[in-house]
């Protein structure tokens, strides 16, 4: 159950931090976004509900856009576009 971060296509990335609780998901999301270029998209998968609140606030602060949110049974898949 290691962290998974990879480029799946042109400007498309996936970060899977399922199984990890705070502070891993938000810190890895920040780190992943730093590695991406403006306009790139990240599919983030996590299952620690409290991290979602922090990630949402972090995206707002840094001008990144949350394109989509899907909630499964205890896990979350968010689509994020890195802002300029």
């Amino acid at each position: 159950m290691a962290i998974k971060f990879e480029e799946t296509g042109d400007g498309q990335y996936i970060l899977d931090v399922c199984g990890y609780s705070c502070p891993h998901p938000q810190m890895y999301t920040k780190k992943a976004l730093q590695k991406m270029c403006d306009g790139d998209e990240l599919t983030l998968i996590f299952d620690n509900p409290s991290s979602g609140e922090s990630i949402q606030a972090m995206l707002d602060n840094e001008g990144n856009e949350l394109l989509d949110k899907v909630q499964g049974d205890g896990s979350f898949t968010w689509k994020i576009r890195k802002g300029a």
Partner: protein, 491 residues
């Protein structure tokens, strides 16, 4: 006409019935209802045995409420400190300040009406040191003391490991053996012996006893109002305890948080070029309301924390007692009492000491001597977990959080991997040690303390913030090393 009304009423009843069946047919809803049903049945059973169990049940019910608000707002003080330094997010720090202000206002009303249960903490360097160790630990556990409880309720077993670690590390730490004597200064040993404590406590043996009797007991403990000799009730409770000690510093912290973490993003999002006072006031309001869940949880926790003090205070007056131990003795449960006939019974939201009692109860039951120390032997006792009132508050928090998490489809059993399990145990160990040195955790040593006009709580926060900062640096270092070890992970 009457027939038509009757038909409409019947169809509404059927509709409501069908909706209920639909709701109940979903597994998560059924589990949530089962938890609440079991709490109701157990409460009724306890009261039917002896109405005085009401005292214990108040802890359970407030625990349920705390658990629901904590889960609803993902309210965790570890996140308040950690997210500031780790990801530049002030959401939780803001929520804590809102809760603190409201708690202090309700506490002022409760204290003025004579039902207060709070006792100020001795003021000394130990609070900052304990806060620092605690603050370092919470970065690795992923939650503070109450945060770990609500996350356990969400099915997070790493948080359950944190609770386990906090429980045993505290029990072990307050009962350190003779080998730890050399760590205590001679002045502490002499001062502890001067107190003329009962022989069975052997206060000259064990670091924590000498720390308690030889250092802590020699310190002053008073609220700011008491230090300033403010006696007029309004001036004492509202103007000094609430306004001066809590609301004013909390407001300053909110302004600092706004300037340091929120202002830049707010101005960009609002496309504001010309800044003025109105714009910044709007920004502060936007920061407070940016996470509705956190703000609502802050309001709820603040108000109910105050009401909890009132409810326990009113029950104590009604039963004519100062401590739950007196009720337990009347009911014939004397085995877990301290030599003073007391048990731990703060009368307000508190987390760590009851967990230490759980650990000590297990250790005692496997044959260890856990009572020849001041912490358990003289102050808190080691009651059976089934009659440990504050312990049930912690269980209430877990159950309240589990109920809401199930209803919100956020409950998920999560078994930790080795890395998370190690951090949970190691961080929990530090949290336990820090909490005992500081005489409480982020709730008992900070939240409840500041809200009741005791400035020692701000000292704990100072230590916790410093520990949190160091913890984030250490965690970053670990994270960078960890990702460098994973193949195909370009982080």
């Amino acid at each position: 006409m009457k027939n038509q009304e009757a038909t409409t009423a019947t169809s509404l009843d059927l509709d409501t019935g069908n909706k209920f069946i639909d709701w109940f047919s979903q597994k998560q809803n059924r589990h949530a209802a089962t938890i609440m049903g079991l709490v109701a049945i157990c409460s009724a059973w306890a009261l039917s045995n002896d109405m005085r169990w009401l005292y214990l049940l108040v802890y359970v019910w407030f625990g349920l409420i705390y658990g629901m608000f904590l889960q609803y707002g993902r309210f965790c003080m570890a996140s308040a400190v950690r997210d500031l330094f780790a990801v530049g997010v002030s959401r939780m720090a803001v929520g804590v300040m809102i809760a603190l202000c409201l708690y202090s206002m309700v506490a002022a009303v409760v204290n003025i009406s004579g039902f207060g249960t709070f006792h100020p903490h001795p003021l000394g360097w130990h609070i900052i040191i304990g806060g620092l160790i605690f603050g370092f630990g919470i970065i690795f556990t992923g939650g503070c003391a109450s945060g770990s409880l609500y996350k356990t309720g969400e099915g997070n077993m790493a948080s359950a490991l944190v609770l386990l670690s906090i429980s045993f590390s505290q029990a072990f730490f307050v009962n350190l053996g003779d080998w730890s004597d050399k760590l205590a200064p001679a002045s502490w040993t002499a001062s502890a012996l001067d107190k003329g404590m009962p022989e069975e406590l052997s206060v000259e043996h064990g670091w924590f006893d000498q720390f308690t009797a030889g250092y802590i007991w020699d310190l002053e403990a008073a609220t700011l109002a008491d230090m300033m000799n403010v006696t007029q009730p309004i001036a004492k409770y509202f103007l000094t305890d609430s306004l001066l000690v809590t609301i004013l510093p909390a407001s300053i912290i909110l302004v600092v948080l706004y300037k340091a973490y929120y202002c830049k993003g707010y101005l960009r999002r609002q496309k504001i070029e010309k800044q003025g006072m109105t714009c910044h006031l709007g920004g502060v309001w936007s920061m407070i309301t940016s996470s509705k869940n956190t703000a609502i949880a802050g309001i709820g926790l603040g108000i109910f924390s105050g009401l909890h003090v009132w409810a326990t205070g009113a029950l104590r007056e009604s039963y004519g007692i100062f401590n739950f131990g007196e009720l337990l003795e009347d009911m014939g449960h004397t085995a877990g009492l301290s030599i003073q006939g007391t048990v731990f019974d703060p009368g307000y939201w508190y987390i760590t000491t009851q967990e230490a009692q759980w650990g000590a109860w297990v250790m005692e039951n496997v044959g260890m001597d856990m009572r020849s120390n001041i912490f358990f032997g003289m102050d808190n006792g080691i009651p059976n977990p089934l009659i440990n009132a504050p312990g049930f508050m912690s269980i209430g928090i877990i159950l309240g959080a589990a109920t809401l998490a199930l209803l919100r489809r956020e409950f998920k059993w999560k078994i930790p991997n080795m890395e998370t399990a190690f951090f949970a145990l190691a961080g929990g160990l530090l949290m336990g040690i820090g909490a005992r040195i500081a005489m409480g955790c982020n709730i008992g040593a900070f939240f409840a303390t500041v809200a009741n006009g005791d400035i020692s709580g701000w000292m704990f926060l100072l230590g916790m913030v410093a520990g949190g900062y160091l913890g984030v640096q250490a965690f970053n270092f670990w994270m960078n090393w960890r990702t460098s070890q994973i193949d195909d992970c370009p982080l």
